[in-house]
Symmetry: C2
Subunit: 375 residues, 2 copies
Amino acid sequence: MGSYQNGVVGGDRNASSVDKGVDFANYFCTYAFLYHQKEMLSDRVRMDAYFNSIFQNKHHFQGKTVLDVGTGSGILAIWSAQAGARKVYAVEATKMSEHASALVKANNLEDVVEVIEGSMEDITLPEKVDVIISEWMGYFLLRESMFDSVICARDRWLKPTGVMYPSHARMWVAPIRSGLTDQKLNDYEETMDDWYNFMNDTKTNYGVDMSVLTKPFSEEQKKYYLQTSLWSNLHPHQVIGTAAVVKEINCLTATVNEILEVKSSFSSSITLENTRLSGFGGWFDVHFRGRREDPAQQEIELTTAPRPDNGTHWGQQVFLLHPPIRVSVGDGLNVSFLMKRSKENHRLMEVDLSCEIKEYSGKLLPAFNKKFYIE
Amino acid sequence: MGSYQNGVVGGDRNASSVDKGVDFANYFCTYAFLYHQKEMLSDRVRMDAYFNSIFQNKHHFQGKTVLDVGTGSGILAIWSAQAGARKVYAVEATKMSEHASALVKANNLEDVVEVIEGSMEDITLPEKVDVIISEWMGYFLLRESMFDSVICARDRWLKPTGVMYPSHARMWVAPIRSGLTDQKLNDYEETMDDWYNFMNDTKTNYGVDMSVLTKPFSEEQKKYYLQTSLWSNLHPHQVIGTAAVVKEINCLTATVNEILEVKSSFSSSITLENTRLSGFGGWFDVHFRGRREDPAQQEIELTTAPRPDNGTHWGQQVFLLHPPIRVSVGDGLNVSFLMKRSKENHRLMEVDLSCEIKEYSGKLLPAFNKKFYIE
């Protein structure tokens, strides 16, 4: 045989019937590596936003109890303590908890920060908390479905007067242009050419006709090369039309049911002269505003939108069209966007996107529907 | 967060307490992809060996019942039927079984080949079989621990007079030279330089002292860059000394207990003038000899040893020494080799290797012990 390392994930049918062992093998294990923690801790946009949200809003932390959901290396718990928290509970599902404990101790905060190894759904705290802080955002916000655990933590452990860090989140979609379209189409065509050679060789050398597998193989490869969204750090110049919010989340009130699906119809107008629509880019932002009765003194935003300088480790998710479509300034897009969790793995996503384009002249281009996978 | 795709595997403590869901997520899922099947089906050395072993030994198949353990795309089952088998049971744990069924039908063998989706340990057959054929070999033979399932199949379903395809297997180790040593050492040093910069930045910008994590980070990176064996297609010129057999398996009689550990002490003499010992290469071969009372008419060998032309998809596993050691023709190595299954995942392996070098002059170099991981 000779099995290759890969990141393919299988497992449960839906969030409510998760096999914890499978989920750990598929998901949590990633976060047990310091290398991966370092990647996140080196993301200046991410770090600055959380750092500022805490230290420019000390009134939310001084003398308060804090819960950090998925503390990882413990950085948010440590900052909360440094900002004056009375007690911080830092919950981590992986063995990374041991490194978090060491880091807490090395920074002389073991009297304030208590690291608890376990899953948020299983553990219990000795008291309710004033603040829940968590960096739960996955690619395009909801990949990983980690916000489920934050909601669970909030409903079980946040005081009625408590605040959420972050307090709000939004998902954005915008039309883009990208050279990746041609590249991926070439990759797909090469893999198919290769398949036809393989098929002939197998027939000639080994007397077996493989042609019946051509369709499933091409579907497998289409999914991989053409329908799987790509991580990309887009330059603002690649955004060729107005961006639209497809989801708004109030972290204080959101329910799991509200985030199982993201359904939105939106319009976008092309803002660039004579260009091509290569597909759509998806990103998110979160805000730290406290709560209405107890607002932030300094509102902080963390955005993963395209930027000219080096972006975030989240980048943007790119959904490509094959082939791209010629568009120009003033053309209007009407888009229906539906994102659901994958049946095979509740931490991955599937996207149905349909779009009609009305040219500035008034001419209507044929509408199209596309299916994408966020893996 | 922003989780990266990766092949990290977690899970059960040992083979006897395997969580099937976890095992499937970690292991079997790889084989559900036609792309991966195609990689194996394109391995000419692999294909030729099995093809010849069947069609040059038709007497083992004509009018006989055959069991193919882990049939994948179904190729071995189809060949067995084409060679004249009366009935072939093709067992496959993944959804690949559906493609195997289609392939069987498309090649007009559905009356002979019965594809059964399920794990070998769970399914039952209506009769015992004359032949068990399987391509169960992982990197360095035993990675994946798939031979366990073949043993299970043999003990439950092979007639007392039955034959195993392949019938024998051997593991080889030899001293090698390789440029990978310097490369991996550089990679490791770069990642550590990067860590020290990261540590300073985190202290300066965010007031957190990360130094307590330097040791665990360097251990994690050492394991990744310096202690994890590498897939490589070695050229015979890179083998600088005599190769030794560290394990011989008789597929007709081997027990799981016999393959849980591979323990061997062997000697090797350097055959190259003034070179460097960069580490050791590990590979395997299997033979198709039938059984003593019912031998093959034509013995076939499948070897994954280093070869000048393009090798197999298994390549060789390379265990690197840092730094390499200067050796020359006539120097003698005494090596103790111990390979065990990983406690975290019974399909991965850990290797303890100790070596003393006696120069041709008689001078004894300091002995060394190394720990390696086959991931």
